[in-house]
């Protein structure tokens, strides 16, 4: 084991050693998890689109670590890391990628649509710009119900061109809502470079005209991201006003797995890779004497094993049953006892039809649902 240098952590701007190590662990988990997810995609264990945030881990971890447990986080289709950073069980995140019943969303959402109510990860959304109004809505509810919660809303540079961006900025500022908007500026909206999609490339300024002041952080630096996000969250909490934080970062991989990356050069990617947040932060911890070479390697091995277990778990989890297809479309109750649908008139009508004739308590559907209600739902009921 290397000798610990007696250099106080603050000197490098680092948090307490235990905290710094936890951040590194979280970043490592996201990285190794996503690398494996990519491999699983190549093996067709994962379907649909897979958007990896490799390169953006410091933005994810730095910002989410500034949140308290009761705060809300909402993100996009690129959100495996966000839900993991918020504390989701890697087994269940991987199972969701595999489309299995033990997935966070029981296999309904897949990679682009993660959600973990228990950990207040309020979802990844497949519609670019669709999550901004929702975030302002969370903040509206927090404000209205006088709850001590703040919402952190993350979206991409490309999303800042969507109509919902301006509309949400205005309302959040007008109604003084406790929300922080964070643009994860990874330099591209799909294959379109920032300067080709946005007239203003100082994205932090994009909210100013709407009354939302901007700040910028180095999204490749977890500490800087943490500090700036913390200040933004403080303003939301204490001063009751929104801010816009631009986190400047880079995605190392393609937009999704099917991206030939003809719109950028390998040199540009390599240049940014020199600032790989995982490497840089790990090196910082070693320089500060918080971490030895051996410990770092051991951490990485453990992380890889953890991800291996997640893959094994996901693979062992069953596919959803065809009988579940119609579950959870509605909250069943006095108004909706079931519903009548006419699709695929096969000899066996689907349950939606049967339910209309049944007493609600007898619904196989209702019983099944109660039995599989994830633990997080209990808190929902208390609050609601």
């Amino acid at each position: 084991m290397a000798e610990r240098v007696a250099q106080p952590a603050e000197q490098a701007g680092l948090p307490e050693p235990a905290v710094a190590l936890e951040w590194l662990g979280s970043m490592m988990l996201i990285r190794r998890f996503e690398e494996r997810a990519g491999e699983m995609y190549a093996k067709a264990k994962v379907g649909g689109f897979l958007h990896l945030a490799i390169g953006e881990e410091a933005t994810i971890v730095g910002s989410t670590r500034a949140l308290r447990d009761q705060d809300y986080l909402i993100s996009t289709y690129r959100s495996h890391g966000h839900t993991l950073a918020r504390g989701s069980d890697p087994d269940r995140v991987m199972a969701e990628l595999f489309g299995r019943v033990d997935g966070l969303c029981r296999g309904r959402g897949g990679s682009m649509h993660m959600f973990d109510r228990e950990n207040r990860f309020m979802g990844g959304y497949g519609i670019v710009g669709g999550n901004l109004p929702l975030a302002a809505g969370f903040a509206l509810a927090s404000d209205y119900l006088e709850r001590d919660e703040v919402t952190l809303c993350q979206f991409g540079d490309g999303a800042s061109n969507q109509g919902t961006f301006g509309e949400t900025m205005n309302l959040a500022a007008l109604w003084k809502l406790p929300v922080v908007f964070m643009i994860t500026n990874n330099q591209f909206g799909m294959g379109t470079a920032l300067e080709r999609h946005s007239a203003i490339t100082d994205l932090l300024r994009k909210g100013e005209g709407f009354g939302v002041p901007g700040m910028r952080c180095d999204g490749m630096d977890a500490v800087d991201t943490y500090n700036v996000t913390s200040e933004a969250l403080r303003i939301a909490r204490e001063e009751r006003r929104p801010t816009l934080v631009e986190a400047v970062t880079y995605r190392f991989r393609g937009h999704s797995m099917a991206d030939p990356e003809e719109y950028r050069t390998k040199e540009q990617v390599d240049e940014w890779r020199k600032r790989d947040p995982l490497t840089v932060f790990g090196d910082q911890l070693m320089e500060a004497g918080i971490l030895s070479e051996d410990e770092r390697e051991a951490m990485d091995r453990d992380t890889i094993e953890r991800v291996d277990r997640a893959v094994a778990f996901a693979d062992a989890s069953p596919h959803p049953s065809p009988n579940d297809l119609y579950d959870d479309i509605y909250v069943l109750g006095d108004q909706v006892r079931g519903w009548y649908s006419v699709d695929e008139r096969t000899p066996t009508p689907h349950r939606g039809e049967d339910e209309t004739a049944m007493d609600r308590a007898d619904l196989p559907h209702a019983a099944e649902h109660a039995a599989t209600t994830p633990p997080g739902d209990a808190s929902q009921r208390e609050e609601d």
């Binding site: 497949g126 959803p320 699709d343």
Partner: protein, 328 residues
């Protein structure tokens, strides 16, 4: 005749129409440098330059709206939306603006706009990327709605759409992009809106298949013939607005049975509408209730087994056809 893929047929329609008319221009997200999310616009930026092939920011409602405005004042814009799901963000411009403008301004202006978009399930893209919503656009007076299924129709209908003076919602299908077909070489090969294609002749039952489901229906018809001794007539309407109801009615009058197959939701679907039209006009010719085969009444799930049962396949079409014989 040349054999090409559906996406190449669309590409050549765009190229030819851009060569033919300098006021045809393209707008869309990642259609230029990236060559299009589904590569339909591949090469066009290089060929026609940035003035005519424009990568736009992610701003669906506004780019469609700009297309409407430019169409009102002299251009023939073709706007690409990455999927039909994202067209909901532009619904306001498509319905409140493009479709209504000519009518509400007393016929003073034309809106020669084409909005292209693919639809369809089967790639596990989940509930925000996989729907089939021709019914939403079928609902709207003022729009033309195309649902091409072959490479030749994709090309011919797109050329007609671009030359037409009405706003056109042009619905492609993700599954069909890679399908090959024969396409006439003629630069003036167009397919007229409002003319259905009879994909297979038959005397026992009429199957109307919409978008990709025209292909599924044709496969079902083969099985029905080989295994059940039922000769199905398969009709692909090709456009839903205008709809070639005459061809469908003539077929139903001959076969006395009808099954309508679509990938979208059942309530308020294309089949619901068509069944109403057929029973209004050919009730006495029907020997059995009209059957519909549709996508399941659910948001599209990601899970592969769930997704696979949430949209129709050949066996369901076969079952529905056989049901029209059992019902008597």
């Amino acid at each position: 005749m040349a054999v090409m893929r559906y996406r190449e047929a669309l590409n050549s329609a765009l190229r030819e129409e851009m060569e033919r008319d300098p006021n045809v221009m393209l707008m869309g997200e990642d259609i230029g440098v990236f060559n299009g999310a589904f590569k339909v616009t591949a090469g066009l930026l290089d060929e026609f330059g940035e003035k005519r092939v424009r990568d736009t920011p992610i701003s669906e409602n506004t780019i469609v709206g700009m297309g409407v405005g430019a169409a009102m004042t002299g251009l023939r814009p073709v706007v690409e939306l990455m999927t039909i799901n994202f067209s909901l963000l532009a619904m306001d411009q498509i319905v409140n603006h493009a479709a209504s403008i000519r009518y509400m301004f007393g016929g003073q202006v034309r809106v020669p706009l084409v909005v292209r978009m693919p639809q369809g399930a089967g790639h596990q893209l989940g509930p925000t990327h996989s729907h089939s919503w021709e019914a939403l656009y079928l609902h709207v007076p003022g729009l033309l709605v195309a649902v091409p299924t072959t490479a030749a129709d994709a090309k011919g209908l797109l050329k007609s759409a671009i030359r037409d003076d009405n706003p056109v919602v042009f619905i492609e299908h993700e599954y069909l992009y890679g399908q090959r077909g024969e396409v006439p070489d003629d630069e003036d090969h167009t397919v007229r809106f409002g003319e259905a294609a009879i994909r297979r002749e038959g005397s026992d039952v009429t199957i109307v298949g919409i978008s990709r489901m025209a292909l599924t229906s044709a496969r079902a018809a083969k099985t029905l013939s080989e295994e059940h001794d039922v000769e199905a007539e398969v009709i692909d309407p090709r456009t839903l607005r205008p709809l070639d109801l005459d061809t469908i009615l003539a077929s139903v009058r001959k076969t006395n049975r009808c099954v309508i197959v679509e990938e979208g939701w059942p309530h308020g679907g294309v089949g619901a509408n068509l069944a109403a039209l057929i029973q209004e006009q050919a009730f006495d010719d029907l020997d059995a209730p009209i059957q519909r085969v549709t996508g399941a009444d659910v948001p599209m799930p990601y899970s592969k087994p769930l997704e696979q049962i949430a949209f129709p396949h050949e066996p369901q079409v076969v079952d529905a056809v056989l049901a029209t014989f059992r019902d008597r």
